[in-house]
Amino acid sequence: MTLIENEVIATREFGPISRTDIVRYQGASGDLNPIHHDVEFAKSAGFDDVFVVGMLIAGYLATFASDLVGVESITNFKIRFQAQTWPGDLITCSAKFTRHPEASGNQVHVTLELTAKNQNGALAATAFADAQIPKDSSFLSSK
């Protein structure tokens, strides 16, 4: 299969996200905002339950992008959070790609346009990953 620009080239599921997944990410990152693990705190802030830390969704999208183009090739990763996700949500990540005309040496500049949606199809986050990949990368030739 040859990659086609601006069409979905890959999808990957993460989750369903458990409370343990949230706590594991918070411990790993050092972001211990209680709104993501302390139900009483979340309720006092007006929420029905704790919600998933956005940077966990960012981490899933980053893993997805890294596995597509190679972690060492990514030069920029930018995410915009669109809506909260909740314990039990199943996240589907999808990617489109654009190849930029400029090239330096044996490198090609590509941008992955990424989305994360929940099981109802609601958008949780959109992201872009810029990468400099070798011209002979297997990513460009086939999947």
């Binding site: 990410y25 050092g30 966990l56 981490g59 899933y60 596995d67 060492e72 959070f81």
Partner: protein
């Protein structure tokens, strides 16, 4: 506040144990330690663990209410790959702050926080840019 006059400065060792923990938490298959693996694109979020517990610049400097605050956007730019074994210095500074009328009434306050990461030779290796939004009071 500028890059040369940051709110916080910290030192950060890119440890294999933290890399493993972060990879596991984000569904990434970790690489072996002897390869000095390149860290994944959002790994520098772990800089938070190198600050004093509870450090939250938006609250401390701008008085944002944690219960009404959201993480709006996050960007990481790499001038070179960050690898396990690197020792970095981070400088956190407030790039800008502004307000908008919220859709549900009240004022939404925005703040953009930059962290510049340098290597041991003082060369810039990466930058994090974080947008924190405080929603208006009341619903």
């Amino acid at each position: 506040m500028t890059k040369d006059n940051p709110a916080y400065t910290f030192s950060m060792q890119v440890e294999y144990g933290k890399y493993l923990e972060f990879a596991t938490a984000t569904g990434l298959k970790p690489k072996a330690e002897n390869d000095n693996p390149v860290v994944p694109p959002t790994f520098l979020a772990t800089a938070e663990a190198w600050l004093p517990p509870g450090t939250w610049p938006a609250g401390e400097i701008l008085g944002f209410d944690l219960k009404r605050s959201l993480h709006g956007e996050q960007e990481f730019t790499f001038h070179k790959p960050v690898r396990v074994g690197d020792r970095l210095t981070g400088r956190i500074w407030l790039e800008s702050t502004f307000s908008k009328a919220g859709s549900r009434g009240g004022e939404m306050r925005f703040s953009i926080w930059v962290t510049d990461f340098d290597d041991e030779n003082g060369n810039s290796v990466a930058q994090s840019k974080m947008t924190i939004i405080e929603t208006g009071p009341g619903k």
